[in-house]
Symmetry: C2
Subunit: 159 residues, 2 copies
DNA sequence: CTTGACCTTGGATTTAACTCTAGGGTTTAT
DNA sequence: ATAAACCCTAGAGTTAAATCCAAGGTCAAG
């Protein structure tokens, strides 16, 4: 059982944000004290954490509402209905994962290319890392434990 | 070579958005006609696609600017600088992938549980799919090459 | 029995990212 | 050579998601 400020602190959001989520129908406290204070249970906290995770990967509050509605309306959904919504969200999530893997690969390639060498950084650009499909990357030096002293020299460009 | 409207159409954004990105320093046309029309090259288009992909996985325009700055400022970066920025973005991307995999698993579990039956969906909730850590889900039929006829049986829950 | 940290509501303000409007110039097809 | 479809700029308006503010109620500590 948490009061609004406690839950907010625990989840690193503002109390205002929780009131806002309540207004939007995403998260309501399980109860109130006699004096009107909001009281959140552990279950509410879990719901909040779900909301925050979903937000962190780019779902809008409207989409999150939709995801959560699967639960809220439970008794009124047929499995088939649920499956439709869930599968479309699943496709959405899988598309995001693919996009991110593309970024991951490009960034990894860049990081490797600039892996600690003190040399030219001609290929030190995301776009170039993408264009330069494989191989062919300068600066490669896969030494991952470096000390700062080694980093005083520049990435000189092709000029 | 595209005019603003052409590029916008190709990438499914508004011309206004491209002018806005220009104001924000994310994407400038490579040239202008004598009359002042913006002219975008294929390279510009590629940059735009990069921006849109990054946006689609939840990067803000400010973050995207930072990613792209690796390129813009090329000659002024030391490899170590680049590596620091890139690695922090890489961690960020990897965290997002983890979050998404968590959603993917939950959604997949839900989808499996509600594999096409038209009956009650007591377990058809994201939060429950998460709580119900593994096993313990009814209707599981991990047969991945299924034909719909097999899915007429129910999602019955703990009741 | 009051001080300070917390809570309440309602409404105003902010920020990011567009999106639109007004008033005008340019290109292209007929 | 003129109408439709495009482009320009500057600046106002919109939407989502907070975030802040004002005026006041609650509660534990001293």
């Amino acid at each position: 059982m948490y009061r609004i400020g406690e839950l907010a602190k625990q989840c690193e959001v503002k109390a205002d944000t929780l009131r806002f989520y309540e207004k939007r129908g995403l998260l309501s406290p399980s109860s109130r004290t006699d004096s009107g204070y909001r009281i959140y249970t552990e279950k509410d906290a879990e719901r909040l954490r779900f909301i925050l995770r979903a937000k962190s990967v780019g779902f809008t509050l409207a989409e999150i509402t939709e995801l959560l509605s699967i639960e809220l309306d439970k008794s009124n959904w047929a499995c088939a209905d649920v499956k439709g919504l869930v599968d479309s969200k699943l496709a959405h999530v899988e598309a995001k994962i693919s996009e991110l893997k593309y970024f991951q690969i490009s960034l990894q390639r860049l990081s490797d290319a600039c892996g600690g060498s003190s040399d030219s950084a001609e290929h030190c650009s995301i776009l170039e890392a993408l264009e330069t499909n494989t191989e062919n990357i300068k600066c490669e030096n896969h030494d991952h434990h470096h000390d700062n002293a080694q980093y005083t020299k520049n990435c000189q460009s092709k000029g």
